[in-house]
């Protein structure tokens, strides 16, 4: 009996509270995983754009963080798909999107754009690290007593070198050109990857809050902001960990040193790289933040000024139901406070990092307010729905679309990065990579 009743809880009912007049089939169908989805693709796109700033526009100051951002972007890439898989009611049929795309749907572009983007990032990493891969093959081959890890790494390097062992200066020069070309090509594709995520929402004409042509542009700008902020934050954290580990010789925290054998950078050098990169990157963060905030505020003002039929309901959501989430968390804590922190003179690394955390929080809240906020009112404009994030799961659905699912999405890129860092050391100090 209990099981029967539990089965009759329809999708969305577990976390939706309806108020006033809401249609019987209306629930918050797109929940936390759909918040995570644009957030994660945004991080991918943003991290890639950051790396391209160095590769395409030759911003020399960003050299060290650019390589890290590229590898991290690659680690984030498979995770962009994860929230979708966790959200689908029929995850095993997810492949249909790639195999039988229905091209009038914005989502059907996912397969093509995502695959194209994955190929570009993979190719760029290959060209950036080709010299390193070849050198590693030579180094490992010469070694007579290879460790267990090195025994695994050697065949991996041999396979991914694709047999291109030429290290002549002409070959390296053409590598360099290829990196520049791919990074340049990657910027529009990264923007498209994320712009289309914005289009998925912006093109839903049934939803008064989502439907605006500004949506893709807003998404791209906030994506770059969040991507850069995550790079600053994670770069700082990894550098701190490396400093800590380098002092104490805890090699398990240095996957690249573990794999490549004691090439750990001295602590002092680490500190100076870290300070320099974090401060430089935050300048770019500031530029993109200005753009993102301008667009978001423009959207809000425009809605209030034109005040079409839906505005009565939207105003209730924006100024009453979600006031804290929009004005305090998103704009206050997530935008204006870090904006001031980055703008004030005498920027320290720590301040830049705290500002980055706030920016990440702000962009997350922006996604939340768009996705959940867009479902906070009924299609009738006469009722409201409140979303309650399932924290303690009582079945697989409330785990997938609850705190547990969201946390697994956040943790996964770092696990991937740990192993990816063994193959492509993201923190190389010398000039051996591009």
């Amino acid at each position: 009996m209990v099981e029967q009743v539990a089965q009759m809880i329809v999708h969305g009912e577990a976390w939706t509270i309806k108020d006033l007049f809401v249609l019987p089939n209306e629930y918050v169908y797109w929940s936390i995983q759909i918040v995570m989805y644009p957030y994660m693709t945004g991080l991918v796109a943003g991290a890639f754009v950051l790396s391209s700033l160095y590769h395409v526009f030759n911003v020399e100051k960003l050299k060290a963080i650019a390589r890290y951002a590229l590898v991290f972007s690659f680690a984030l890439l498979p995770v962009a798909m994860m929230p979708l898989m966790l959200h689908l009611m029929q995850p095993l049929r997810g492949i249909h999107v790639l195999m039988t795309p229905h091209f009038t749907s914005a989502i059907s572009a996912f397969g093509i754009v995502f695959m194209a983007y994955a190929c570009i990032v993979a190719a760029e990493i290959w060209f950036v690290y080709r010299k390193f891969i070849v050198e590693s093959i030579h180094r490992l081959e010469q070694k007579s007593n290879r460790s267990g890890l090195e025994k695994i790494l050697l065949p991996i390097y041999k396979v991914i070198s694709l047999g291109a062992m030429d290290l002549s200066s002409e070959a390296l020069e053409s590598d360099h050109k290829a990196v520049k070309f791919l990074a340049g090509l990657g910027i529009p594709v990264a923007c498209f990857l994320h712009g289309y995520a914005g289009f998925i929402f912006g093109s839903v004409k049934a939803n008064a809050l989502w439907m605006t042509p500004l949506m893709p542009v807003i998404f791209i700008c906030s994506a770059i902001v969040s991507g850069i902020a995550l790079c600053i934050l994670s770069y700082y954290i990894f550098m701190e960990m490396r400093k800590w580990a380098a002092k104490r010789g805890k090699n398990w925290l240095l996957p690249d040193a573990l794999a490549q054998g004691g090439t750990a950078i001295p602590v002092e050098q680490l500190r100076s790289i870290q300070d320099h990169e974090v401060k430089m990157t935050s300048k770019y963060l500031l530029i993109f933040m200005t753009l993102a905030i301008t667009l978001e505020v423009l959207d809000m003002i425009f809605r209030g000024y034109t005040a079409v039929k839906s505005w009565d309901a939207l105003r209730m959501v924006i100024y009453e139901h979600d006031f804290m989430k929009i004005f305090v968390y998103q704009y206050g804590l997530g935008n204006f406070l870090p904006f001031l922190m980055l703008l004030l003179p005498g920027l320290t690394t720590r301040r830049a990092v705290i500002a980055s955390i706030l920016v990440l929080f702000g962009v997350f809240m922006m996604r939340w307010n768009v996705v959940i906020g867009g479902q906070a009112f009924s299609l009738t404009f006469a009722g409201f729905m409140e979303y309650h994030l399932p924290i303690i799961p009582h079945d697989i659905e409330t785990f997938k679309e609850g705190l547990g699912g969201a946390l697994s999405v956040i943790v996964t890129p770092f696990i991937i990065f740990y192993f990816l860092n063994m193959i492509f050391p993201a923190f190389m100090s010398d000039d051996e990579a591009h």
């Binding site: 999708h11 689908l88 029929q90 999107v97 009038t104 998925i200 004409k205 009924s378």
Partner: protein
């Protein structure tokens, strides 16, 4: 057999066989519906006749295997109460599955609300179902083509192909779509396609004791629904979305959303 007789009987057999074979092909309902542009299903709701008994909702749930206890439904009935001061109060408890048996209006988390009778200017019921739009937003947004429009205008879902992303549910301006609690795919009213394509009536129209619901062929000038559209003042819901809905309402108030 003479040559003359042979030719004669051959002609008779060929003619007879071709007539009967073509008839076989002719009665294939799928071929008939797809090739026949003279068929476009539409629906007519006479709101004056609806008393909010909820028989249509019950019949629909039973006919289409939508779990009775689940809080989703392919069709539902809304109650509108317009007060003398102009305020509009609406409710739809459990999709009106059990009818409207109390004067209390279900306001969700805000609890029940009783409106004193002397404050009520008018009150009425509005049944709702899928509009089987001519340019359906749900079909446009489905990433895998699991939702499609048949040649005779109904919008259906392929349960074996739906990935359950919910984009169609988000895309529908009428809120008629939901996730089936057992099948775990998108679900919605089909105009009882399994019945109407065999000449039957929809379960809801059949169950309605007052004839408030009617399905018909909009392309047939002699069809009662098509005639009502021609001769009476009818309205549709939310035409501002450009979906060109095909459920028409007699007596549609501006308050109805």
């Amino acid at each position: 057999m003479k040559r003359r007789d042979f030719l004669k009987s051959t002609a008779v057999i060929v003619a007879g066989a071709s007539v009967s074979l073509s008839a076989l092909e002719f009665v294939d309902p799928k071929e008939l519906l797809a090739a026949n542009p003279q068929l476009r299903w539409g629906f007519l709701v006479d709101t004056h006749k609806c008393v909010g008994c909820g028989f249509c909702v019950k019949a629909c749930k039973t006919e289409n295997d939508i779990p009775f206890e689940a809080n989703v439904t392919r069709t539902w009935v809304e109650r509108y109460v317009i007060k003398t001061d102009g305020e509009v109060v609406m409710d739809c408890p459990k999709g009106a599955r059990d009818g409207f048996t109390t004067k209390l209006l279900d306001q969700g988390a805000s609890g029940n609300r009783l409106i004193p009778e002397n404050e009520i200017a008018q009150a009425f019921f509005v049944p709702k179902l899928c509009n089987h739009c001519s340019t359906p937003a749900c079909v446009q947004v489905c990433p895998v083509g699991a939702t499609y429009q048949t040649a005779d205008g109904t919008v259906l879902v392929d349960r074996t192909w739906c990935i359950g992303c919910g984009y169609c549910i988000m895309g529908c301006p009428y809120g008629v779509r939901f996730f089936h609690p057992v099948e775990h795919v998108a679900d919605k009213c089909t105009f009882c396609y399994h019945r109407i394509s065999k000449g039957g009536n929809t379960a809801c129209a059949q169950a309605c004791p007052f004839g408030a619901r009617q399905i018909g062929n909009l392309k047939d000038p002699n069809d009662p629904v098509a005639q009502a559209l021609m001769n009476q003042r009818v309205g549709v819901l939310r035409d501002e979305y450009g979906t060109k809905p095909n459920v028409y309402y007699i007596g549609l108030n501006k308050e109805v959303r």
